[in-house]
């Protein structure tokens, strides 16, 4: 029976090619616009570490007080040196790390080559196990290396390729800012997007790769400059890098792993206790105003998904709805034009259900054709987002099987929905009336 309906549908669609092409184009463009913007939205709103994001938390301490809070009463979104060091030393979470962005230069062993600049982070040893950082060779450094401010470094696979041709470089030495560092680990193509461990400085997404990771305390001891943002509520009282460390300026990112609800509660109490203690000692002249957000909540509060991406997706969905309304109108015209044909079929004994099946089949065929066109246009759309979107976002959008399947599915389901009312009207055609008027 389906074969018969398909034959009927194809014959009907061929009879008015203009209208058919119009419907297919409408569905194709509507679906493609939605899926192209969705591919971008999907890329930027994804969870960078889905298996663990609910256990990762970002603490915020209000070291600025009322004068430094935003209109929403939020404390600063980074930490000053004093508080970050206190949290690391107290070590109340299962794993934790303070982080700050550095940009040291590396001098190649080959003297004929110019020095290169790198981007990276100074972190604690627990950074690597906490974030399940994948290693190609070696591993992170030990807690003892943190304390001893050891000259050790973890490098990206890209830098390893550049300096050592991709060979296992663990144990080899590289010259960073004029000092020798022993390579202890090489990352295995680690480039999470968004750059969730330091959203404040990366703004979420970045085309650059973190090439080097050094022990936090060593970077501090060597006065390695902070390459990220520094925000102050008051001008530091002393000058220099030491002045920055003694000030309430915020420039350090912080993350902690807390495995269950009770650990989260305990940590929250610990933070409040700490702020309370600071209040009693006179450093804070205000009540505790801390935050402890899980990673997904943190990314949300930092507005990592650009509002442009969200607005684009909404506008494209609006376009899809208009396309569906349009298709519904065209299908209605097309179906009702065949009232007499329906009348004859009904008079010859066709059930209402058969009419439903016949016309929904026709709508479905339009949907499939629109979906196929939508696939092509979505492919083109995703390829061309590079022309209109910022590089760091455009490179994330990609076509994959899920996107293609979804494109086809949405095209067919949407067209069937658009065809429901016209089919309902077609099935209600009164056979007697149609036969009489002929």
């Amino acid at each position: 029976m389906l074969a018969y309906y398909i034959e009927l549908a194809v014959r009907s669609l061929k009879r008015s090619p203009g209208l058919t092409i119009l419907m297919v184009l409408t569905i194709g463009f509507g679906v493609a616009a939605s899926m192209t913007t969705y591919s971008v939205f999907r890329a930027v709103s994804g969870d960078p570490i889905p298996w663990k994001s609910s256990q990762l938390f970002v603490p915020q301490i209000d070291m600025w007080g009322p004068t430094g809070r935003g209109a929403d009463g939020e404390p600063p979104d980074a930490m000053d040196y004093t508080d970050a060091m206190k949290l690391v030393r107290d070590h109340r979470a299962k794993l934790q790390s303070a982080m700050y962005q550095i940009s040291p230069s590396i001098v190649p062993a080959d003297a004929s080559k110019h020095p290169i600049t790198t981007s990276g982070h100074a972190v604690n040893s627990e950074f690597f196990p906490m974030l399940d950082v994948p290693f190609q060779y070696g591993s992170g450094w030990a807690a003892a290396d943190d304390e001893q401010r050891a000259a050790v470094v973890v490098i990206s696979s890209k830098l390893n390729q550049k300096l050592f041709g991709g060979a296992n470089s663990v144990g080899k030495t590289i010259d960073i800012e004029g000092k020798d560092y022993r390579v202890v680990g090489v990352l295995n193509n680690w480039n999470p997007q968004p750059r969730f461990y330091d959203v404040v400085n990366s703004g979420g997404f970045s085309t650059g790769l973190d090439d080097v990771f050094l022990p936090f305390d060593r970077a501090i001891a060597l006065a390695m400059a902070n390459n990220g943002n520094t925000n102050c509520n008051e001008i530091p009282k002393e000058s220099g890098f030491v002045g920055l460390q003694h000030s309430s300026c915020v420039w350090i990112a912080y993350m902690a792993e807390l495995d269950d609800a009770s650990a989260v509660n305990t940590y929250r109490e610990y933070l409040d206790g700490y702020a309370h203690q600071q209040q009693q000692s006179g450093r804070f002249a205000w009540a505790p105003n801390n935050r402890l957000r899980s990673l997904p909540d943190w990314l949300d509060s930092e507005h990592v998904v650009p509002s442009d991406t969200k607005v684009s997706l909404l506008v494209a969905l609006g376009l899809l709805i208009v396309c569906l309304v349009n298709t519904a109108g065209l299908l209605l015209a097309k179906f009702l034009r065949r009232s007499s044909e329906i009348g004859v079929r009904r008079a010859l004994g066709a059930q209402r259900n058969s009419i439903y099946a016949q016309f929904l089949t026709e709508a479905g065929i339009v949907g499939v054709a629109g979906g196929v066109l939508g696939l092509l246009l979505t492919g083109l759309g995703v390829l061309s987002v590079g022309w209109v979107l910022p590089k760091e976002i455009a490179t994330l959008a990609r076509v994959d099987f899920v996107l293609l399947a979804l494109t086809l599915l949405i095209a067919v389901v949407a067209t069937l929905l658009a065809g429901l009312y016209p089919t309902f009207r077609a099935a209600r055609v009164q056979p007697a009336w149609q036969l009489k008027s002929n």
Binding site: W64, L319, I321, N326, L389, N438
Partner: protein, 417 residues
């Protein structure tokens, strides 16, 4: 022509009428907001920076194994390295002028703070927000900023210090935006004020017409032209130089830049981003805005195309359906133009009704976007222009099927379908 028969006929096609009207309403709502977004982005991109952007480029470089900027000897050494670079750049034949600088407009790397008439005020909540440009006596002329009052910096004004040193300069130049805000009575030159909550006063010695801040994010919207220029060379392990090439010689100057700097001192890092023309800085800063405008433009075109095609499709169907009635009307004496007008007025009523609903939807959508995203209130003009445009689109789309209807011969009346 009486509208009564048209209304009576519309009642027979309720579903089709509602679908077209709904489509026009949704199209109007989306197109108005999309065009508003485009307008805002274009306005943003066309903001003037206040500098002369042609023949201008920026050099950012980092020294390897640089002396410590936290100790006085290190600062002196860094400063002499910087002055050596400046001298080498100034001696290049393609270069007109050079100044050390911490940032330029649209670079999205900035040093911000506040100015106040009171000593020791709050850094974040007191006073006038400003960005700071640090540079030497050549900064204003190299940028091509117009000085409208007072004097420019002289060699004697220029100090040098490390990035983390908090001593404030004794003289600064501010933009007109700041001068007008802090000294509404005019004549800011010679007045004293306090930088970043400091307790020692700083004197304004000059006012420049306009200079945009480096940040382009929405957080800078409240102080786009609040800039303070300080006569200061910053001594750090990196340095930035803004270079004005002689007319037409920018490419050549940019090409020679790395080798010239390596010749002065090879222990430095220059990468592909180190030498950047201002045109590139501008393009990068507004890439997202232009992209969004293009995207919204494409969506608008598709929407209008789909809606116009939908009107053509449905009206054609109606014309086909009413062939006989049209024939009867023609036989009874209606002229071609009457038939044409019939369909045009019918479309005007449907599109007009849809567009009025659309205006409400457009304002509602705008209010929703304002609540959830950074969006301004849509001006009434946008909505009205959208309304007129969609009604015009409806008329244009209906013309072809309506003309076909007007060509129906009166003889159709005598044919039995």
């Amino acid at each position: 022509m009486s509208t009564h028969p048209i209304l009576a006929a519309l009642r027979k096609h309720k579903a089709g009428v509602v679908l077209i009207a709904l489509q026009i309403a949704l199209t109007l709502a989306i197109v108005c907001n999309a065009i508003f977004i485009i307008g805002q982005r274009i306005e943003r991109v066309h903001r003037v920076t206040g500098i002369d952007e042609s023949n201008l480029f920026l050099v950012t470089q980092q020294w390897v194994g640089a002396p410590d900027a936290d100790d006085p000897a290190g600062i002196e050494k860094l400063d002499s390295m910087q002055r050596e670079d400046l001298a080498a750049l100034r001696s290049m034949s393609d270069v007109a002028s050079v100044a050390p600088i911490n940032s330029v407009p649209l670079l999205n790397s900035s040093w911000n703070g506040s100015l106040s008439l009171k000593a020791g005020s709050e850094l974040r909540k007191g006073g006038t927000r400003t960005t700071f440009y640090f540079g030497d006596e050549n900064m204003i002329s190299t940028l091509g900023v117009r000085l409208i009052a007072g004097r420019a910096f002289t060699v004697a004004d220029v100090q040098h210090r490390s990035l983390h040193d908090q001593t404030e300069p004794s003289v600064v130049i501010v933009t007109k935006a700041i001068a007008d805000k802090m000294f509404p009575g005019g004549n800011a030159v010679g007045k004293a004020m306090y930088v970043d909550g400091s307790t020692t006063p700083t004197t304004i010695i000059g006012v420049v017409e306009r200079l945009q801040v480096p940040g382009t994010g929405s957080w800078t919207n409240t102080f786009v032209y609040n800039a303070t220029l300080e006569p200061l060379r910053i001594d750090a392990n990196f340095a930035r130089y803004v270079v004005r090439a002689k007319p037409g010689r920018m490419e050549a100057a940019m090409r020679l830049m790395p080798s010239t700097l390596y010749k002065v001192n090879p222990m430095r890092v220059l990468d592909e981003d180190s030498v950047k023309s201002f045109a590139d800085i501008r393009a990068e800063a507004y890439r997202a805005d232009i992209g969004m405008a293009i995207l919204m433009g494409v969506v608008c075109l598709v929407l209008l195309g789909v809606t116009a095609a939908g009107i053509v499709g449905l009206t054609s169907f109606w014309v086909g359906q009413r062939h006989r009635q049209i024939g009867v009307r023609r036989a009874l004496g209606a002229r071609k133009i009457d038939i044409l007008h019939y369909f045009q007025i019918e479309n005007l009523m449907i599109a007009g009704g849809g567009a009025i609903v659309g205006v409400a939807l457009a304002v509602g959508l705008n209010a929703w976007l304002m609540k959830h995203f950074e969006m301004d209130r849509i001006p009434v003009a946008y909505v009205l222009v959208g309304l007129v445009a969609l009604v015009a689109l409806g008329q244009a789309a209906v013309f072809v099927p309506a003309r076909r209807a007007s060509n129906v011969s009166p003889i159709e009346a005598t044919r039995a379908v």
